[in-house]
């Protein structure tokens, strides 16, 4: 079992989820933070986890599933260790964001929403990450890379394991 690191030490994923559910049991409007945290624990939202959340928070499974599919942030399939989000917002669009996305697709060998076979990268697009002053740009995990040119994209990926 993969250990999930949290402040109280190493917990199994199941223990971390149980702790999370305890924390939010009587919290008004807690479903979205619970899903966000659960996704942090598992990397995505497996069906069994959604069922457990539905049961413990006493929300119908259909509603939990409805919330999951509504928001772009939630994923029902396993994802890569590193999330690449290429910005295709207005400012990036005007400055050639599409070519950055092409370079990223070529470098990783996957398309929009795709995950590399070794689970190292998942490639996504995003409508704007608010770094328009540095367009075209992309995010890898929580790091923003700006003023990109297609040639540089592949090199950036190399530093992420």
């Amino acid at each position: 079992m993969t250990a999930y690191k949290c402040e109280s030490g190493d917990l199994t994923r199941e223990e971390a989820l149980a702790q999370l559910l305890d924390q939010y049991r009587d919290y008004q409007g807690g479903l979205i933070p619970v899903l966000q945290e659960a996704q942090n624990i598992y990397g995505y939202l497996p069906r069994e986890v959604l069922q457990q959340i539905a049961g413990e928070l006493r929300i119908p499974f259909s509603k939990v599933f409805g919330v999951c599919t509504f928001y772009a942030q939630f994923h029902l399939k396993p994802r890569g260790r590193n999330i690449v989000r290429v910005c295709l917002g207005t400012a990036c669009h005007v400055r050639g964001g599409a070519r950055i996305f092409e370079a990223a697709q070529e470098s990783l060998g996957v398309g929009q929403g795709g995950t590399t076979e070794d689970l190292r990268f998942t490639l996504e697009t995003v409508a704007c990450i608010g770094a328009c002053g540095l367009s075209p740009c992309m995010m890898v995990n929580d790091e923003t890379h700006g003023r990109l040119v297609p040639k540089r994209v592949g090199g950036i990926f190399e530093s992420y394991q």
């Binding site: 409508a127 608010g130 002053g133």
Partner: protein, 616 residues
Amino acid sequence: MKSLDQVRATYQEEYRHKTAKNRIVVGLGTCGIAAGGEKVMTAIKEQAAARGLDVAVDFTSCIGMCYREPVVEVAVAGAPSVIYGDIYPDKVEMLLESIENKTPVYEWAAMQIPNGAVPYEGIAIMDQSPYYQKQVRSVTSRLGRTNPESIVDYMATGGYEGIEKALKMDRMAVIDEVKKSGLRGRGGAGFPTGTKWNFVYGAHGDKKYAVCNADEGDPGAFMDRSVLEGDPHSVLEGMMIGGYAIGADEGYIYCRAEYPLAIKRLNLAIAQAEEHGLLGEDILGSGFNFTIKIKAGAGAFVCGEETALLNSIEGLRGMPRVRPPFPAIKGLFGKPTTLNNVETYANVPFIIRKGADWYAAMGTEKSKGSKVFCLTGKVNNTGLMEVPMGITLRDIIFSIGGGIQDGKAFKAVQSGGPSGGCIPAEHLDTPIDYESLGALGAIMGSGGLVVMDENTCMVDVAKFFLNFTQLESCGKCTPCREGTKRMLEILQKICDGKGEMADIDTLELLCRVIKGSSLCALGQTAPNPIATTLRYFRNEYEAHIKDHRCPAGVCSALLVYSVQADKCNGCGACRRACPAGAITGEKKAVHVIDTAVCIKCGACFQKCKFDAILRA
């Protein structure tokens, strides 16, 4: 009531002490970090230690000059502060030497702040520099100047004076002051903030909420991010004042998950405010209780719409509610709620501290105060700016923005994101306020301005926005769900060269219907990009349809590539680059493109060093 005077005096002393020493300040907003600011900061620390140089290293947020990031400020005690742009680790050594020599590095300096000392000659003074001359700095006054993670810096620069003053005032007097200032919602719609607060004040409920909309989703807008990253305490203080005025004891900030740094700094600021007894129970002994929670968004543009945002906080799908009842009567968890934008809240402490008259003196008759804009796209100086309402678009784009990149011609500026419209050159002298932008078919929006040059195809731009709204439509009401899809299909058809003139009439009809019948602002404003491009750039639509030609050379299906014989020297680079084998020609002889085989990928156009490939 307890006073903050003593704490403030201590902090002012601490701040004065800090800023009187030799110091280097690195801009670490998201943009500065993306440009490599953290590496620069590490290099400064290491090299300063190696030299044994007595210099304090601090960080701040984005001063607004995104085009010059990483930005570093060097302050030598008793001399003006010099702000440098484009500082990478290899330039750090020279900067440190400049402290030792007490002489700035003139060629890298962007501007200086005299701080009471005699200014250096040959470096623009910040207030008189082209970028800042026409700006005002009120909401953005701390951005790039103070450390956003330090409550000391905030309180030393007038922070939390507003809430202290407000708590001594009658609640209605606070609302009246905000009304008198003329402050209107900075999220886009421009509803008068004081009036909104008055509704919630008057609404019946055992509990009320103050909510901050930090779900800045418009592509091309990053004002809220910059304020949250650069001055998080001001947003908290604005919310406290709002909460006090309407009688709320709980606040929520709904922030995009795409802004991790903003969320981190907000959490820090909340913890600091709690430690100082500024959040929690019986604040400053006034009997007023207020707590603030952060909710991270989960990636849905429609959640920027107020009722969808409330649903999202409640843990539901972020779909808009039918109004009435308005959130002021029945909002979060069914209780009276005020919802205001980040920038709106950030204005409030200044209004309370400096007075409504000070604020109302800026701006136009109906739009008071200042507005923060983000200038992006094909303009030389991309970045954040705060300008008085009533300034013209020409001033923003050409004086502050420094004109169009590569000397190209200005074509249009897109104001207000996917809900806004494209404004052409003939309206560049329009003074910016809510009414005049509305009259042009655009909106003020949250403040994103994307500049487009002659190489931008307006049909393609309309298609880009429709693609966005179509993807982000929540699907609750039919006009938006189906209508945006139909409009996008028609635009795609036109860009593919298969359009008919009747399509323009259909688009105009759809624009009217969707605008008039959608449930929320996302749908009601979705046709704006089409309506304004049809209004100002109809000839481009007609060129696509009648002549099968894209005047800007963007729509790939309509392009024809050919070799200009007089410029081709037969190097063969295009022939090797062509993935379709459409280019033929002998070495050192003019090459030819077979248009029947050409897939219009543009590889030859990019490869040719002699501009011999013609794209038309």
